[in-house]
Structures are given as C-alpha cells and as structure tokens.
C-alpha cells in the first residue's frame, strides 16, 4: 500500500511540476510525454532505426565485448588462483589497470580500433574484465585444497585441474563476477556511445540532447535502464540455477 502511495506521490509530483508550467517543457517533460515519446520511437524510426533497433545494435556490441572479457578474464583468474608464480607476476599490472576508469580508455580504443565495432568492444572489455578476473581468482581460492591434491595425485595436469576441478568449484563465485562485469560493461558501452560512437542507444541520448528534446533523452534512458535490468535479471536467474546445481553450502 505504502509503495503504491510512494509511486503515486512520485509520479503525481512530477506530473504536476511539469504540467503546471512552472518548469519549461524543454527542461522537464511530464511522465506522459516521456511515455508517448517512448511508444512513438518504438513504431517510428528515429535517427535511422526504431528504439528496439538501437538497443539491439548496442546489445550486439555488448555481447561481443562481454564475451571477450569473460573468455579471457575467467581463465586468467582461475590460473592466477592456481599458479602462484603467475599470480605474483600479473597482480601488480592488474592492480594498476584497476585504477584506470574504464571510460578513460575511450580515446585509445577509438584510436586503435576505430569507432565502429572494435573501439566500443574494447571499452566494454575494459569495463567488464576486472570483476571477471577477481571473482574467478577468489573462487579458485575457495576450492578445497585436497580436491586439487586428489586430482593431481590421480595424474591430472595443470590445465585439467583448471577445467575440471577449479572451474566447477569456483562456478558460483565466477557467475556473480560475470553479473557485476555484465552491468559494468553495459554501463561502459553507454559511455562510449555517448562520447565517440554514432549509433546505438547511447547515440539516441546524444541526439535527444542536441535537439533539446528531453522527452527523447528520458525515453532512451528508460530503454537503457530496462535493458540493463533485463540483463541483470537473466544473469541472476542463471546464478540461482548454478548455485543450486554446483554450489556447496559452506
């Protein structure tokens, strides 16, 4: 009940503030304006595509960058958890890299890989990479030592231990790392699209801003938020399933 009242108060206040004429339409559009803009953009193309089309274009890039980050980050994290020497060698470089804000890579990404596909993919990669590595590393440390020793005694080599003992054991931790990485990657992509890329949902935000059309900006923000939420929900679902199947209750 109170939640309903809270929602009603929030939207009511917004609607009244926007409708009263106290604030210009070019500053704060009413919630209904935003909804109309969002629905219109779903049917009529804006800046060359419908809003779903723009989101789709962004999602393809996101999937590539995130796939790359997970594909490199998780094995690296597990290997660092297993081989101490590798850990000692990579750690200082990794720590230094972690202090660089992902968005600070945008100029280099654009310079090296252009602003089409490669640049954004690199920015997503830099955003999603750290949590993938860190959680795989932590997960590998959670695996019981005698499981590893048992596998070694039975003659398993390093790579086999990594794939068949550490990965399943670390899976719950790995998946929560992937979830954090997915969110950060999505967020970095929006940043990259705002700065240099001229397509995707982030670009719709920029166009709305330069056209002084805050209702388009807000509709695009809504689309960004909903997509991010869907990614998160999907991964949470996967996380819950994997925890049930692989998670050892500590």
């Amino acid at each position: 009940m109170l939640s309903l009242a809270g929602a009603a108060a929030f939207f009511g206040l917004w609607q009244i503030l926007a409708g009263s004429g106290l604030v210009s339409k070019f500053v704060l559009p009413s919630p209904s304006d935003v909804l109309v803009a969002a629905l219109t953009m779903m049917v009529e193309p804006f800046a060359g595509d419908t809003i779903q089309g723009h989101v789709g274009a962004s999602l393809v890039r996101w999937a590539m960058g995130f796939g790359l980050a997970a594909g490199i980050g998780v094995p690296l994290g597990l290997a660092m958890g297993y081989w101490r020497l590798l850990d000692a060698m990579v750690s200082p470089v990794f720590e230094a890299y972690r202090y660089i804000a992902p968005l600070a890579w945008v100029p280099f990404a654009a310079l090296w890989f252009g602003t089409g596909i490669g640049g954004p993919v690199m920015v997503i990669f830099t955003g999603a990479f750290a949590p993938c590595v860190l959680n795989a590393y932590r997960g590998a440390h959670l695996v019981e030592r005698h499981l590893i020793e048992a596998a070694r005694t039975l003659g398993a080599g390093g790579l086999r231990v990594l794939a068949e003992v550490l990965l399943p054991g670390a899976l719950p931790s790995v998946v929560s790392g992937l979830r954090v990485g997915a969110g950060l990657g999505w967020q970095s992509l929006i940043g990259a699209e705002l700065i240099v890329v001229s397509s995707g949902i982030g670009y719709v935000l920029v166009l709305g801003q330069s056209n002084l059309a805050p209702e388009i900006v807000m509709a695009a923000m809504l689309a960004v938020g909903v997509t991010g939420l869907l990614i998160d929900v999907a991964l949470r679902f996967a996380e819950a399933r994997i925890r049930r199947r692989w998670g050892q209750t500590p």
């Binding site: 009940m1 470089v93 804000a101 100029p107 090296w112 923000m221």
Partner: protein, 268 residues
C-alpha cells in the same frame, strides 16, 4: 657492489619473494615496451606512445600546459568536482539509506522512485544534465551525485539491516532508548558496510567525471584526454590516463585512512 639495483632486488627477494617477482615482471614489461618502441620502432608511434614520448608529453603539460592549462590546475579542477559530487552524494545518500534501513514504512514509500532510478546507468544522466545545466561545473557535480548516490544508499540500507539482532536485543534489555540503539548500536554496526558503499561511490564518481569531461568540458583531465584524442597525440592520452589513475588511487587511500579512523574498533 657495483649494481645497486641488483642489490636491491636481492634484498627484496629475501624478504618478500612475491613482491620481487611482481617487480621483475613490471620491469620486464617496461623494458619490452621501451625496446619495442624507442629502440626497435616496431610499433607505430602515432598509435602507441613510447616511454620517451610520454616523458616529453609529461614535460610539456607540466611546464607549458596543454588543452588550456598546465597539469596541476587541470588535475585539481577534476579532483575538486569529484570531491564535491562525492560529498554531496555521501551527505544525502547515507542518511537516506539509514532511514530506509530503520523504518520499513519509509522504505516502502521511497522504494518505487528509487527502484525506477537505480537501473539507469549514471552515465545515461549526462545528456539530461547537459540539457538542464549546460557544460557548467554544476552539471558534472549533478551527474557525479547520481552516480555516487545509489551505492551509498544501498550499502547504508543493507548495513543497518545486517546488524546482529542479538546486539539490538541486548541494548534493549539494558534499557537503552530507541534513539540510543540507533546511535550506539545500529549506525556503528552499519559502518563497515557504509564504507564498502563509499568505496564503490568513489569509483563511480571518477568514471562518471571522466565520461562527463570527455563529452564536454572547459578544463580538467577529461578535456586533456579529448583534446589529445582529437590531436592524435597518444602520449598525452597516456599522461592523462596515468594522472587519473594516480588521483583515483590517492582518493581511495584517503578514504581507507578515514575508514581506519572512524571504524577504529575493527581489526585489520
């Protein structure tokens, strides 16, 4: 001995082998980078800077300035915006989170609005902030505030909720009033989590500032980055990135120091 570096390496090795390996791998990387760029010229300098290029760029921005100022004022400008936005977010986010943690009714009332705002990445606020406030400093502080606000609220809320129920009961049994339980049990109990949230907030503040300054700024490190990108000056991009990383590390260390002071009872 003639080689002080070697002696240093040997003494580090005997005390901390792990740190020695780390140091060695960093040195090897730096050497490989130097050899590949400055000596052999394997990598195109217009795409990837060499150590000497970075040295020249650093000297240039420190003495003559670049993109509207020398390095120190540029860095201070960015630092000031981050600190301002972070402080505003802290001052509003933590009390809101604490209130939401204390009162389920308040939580139920605020949650819908909060849930609507939460999934929107902070960077997506930048265009709206520009529509509202232009490229002024206030627009950047607003965006940083949004970015740092959410983790501050969530962790303060979770911190209050995670306080051990027996501690609260013990306080009550000994006759503490509700206000005293809040002040002496709940808030100190939530402190470690609040600081975890602040660390996330700080990180988000830097990311957002960089993005906001890349999109449009008069002065600041993001402006250095975007100008260097337009001039195709990779060494200056690297100098900008290194400065941002150093400032990020510095502010994180400062936050750690504050945490040690505030959460003195916790053992590290």
């Amino acid at each position: 001995m003639k080689f002080p570096m070697l002696r240093l390496a040997r003494s580090v090795w005997s005390v901390k082998p792990r740190a020695a390996i780390g140091l060695a791998s960093v040195l090897v990387l730096l050497l490989a980078w130097y050899l590949a760029t400055d000596v052999a010229g394997l990598i195109d300098r217009h795409r990837f800077p060499s150590p000497s290029d970075i040295w020249t760029a650093a000297a240039q921005i420190l003495t003559r300035g670049y993109a509207g100022g020398t390095l120190v004022p540029q860095a201070l400008y960015s630092l000031r915006l981050v600190v301002l936005g972070f402080l505003v977010a802290t001052a509003t986010g933590i009390p809101l989170g604490i209130l939401m943690g204390l009162s389920r009714r308040f939580e139920a009332f605020v949650n819908p609005a909060f849930l609507l705002v939460r999934p929107i990445p902070p960077l997506a606020w930048i265009p709206l902030a520009i529509v509202w406030l232009g490229l002024a400093d206030s627009a950047k502080v607003l965006v940083i505030w949004f970015a740092a606000f959410v983790p501050a609220v969530i962790n303060a809320h979770a911190g209050i909720r995670s306080v051990d129920q027996t501690l609260i009961a013990a306080g009550r049994v000994h006759g503490a009033s509700r206000a005293r339980i809040v002040w002496d049990v709940l808030i100190p109990g939530a402190m470690p989590m609040i600081f975890t949230g602040l660390r996330l907030s700080l990180q988000a503040s830097w990311t957002t500032l960089v993005a906001a300054e890349l999109i449009g700024a008069v002065l600041g490190l993001g402006k250095v980055l975007s100008t260097a990108y337009r001039d195709i000056y990779p060494a200056m991009i690297a100098v900008g990135m290194i400065t941002i990383a150093l400032l990020g590390a510095l502010t994180t260390k400062l936050l750690d120091l504050v945490e040690r002071r505030v959460v003195r009872w916790r053992q590290y």
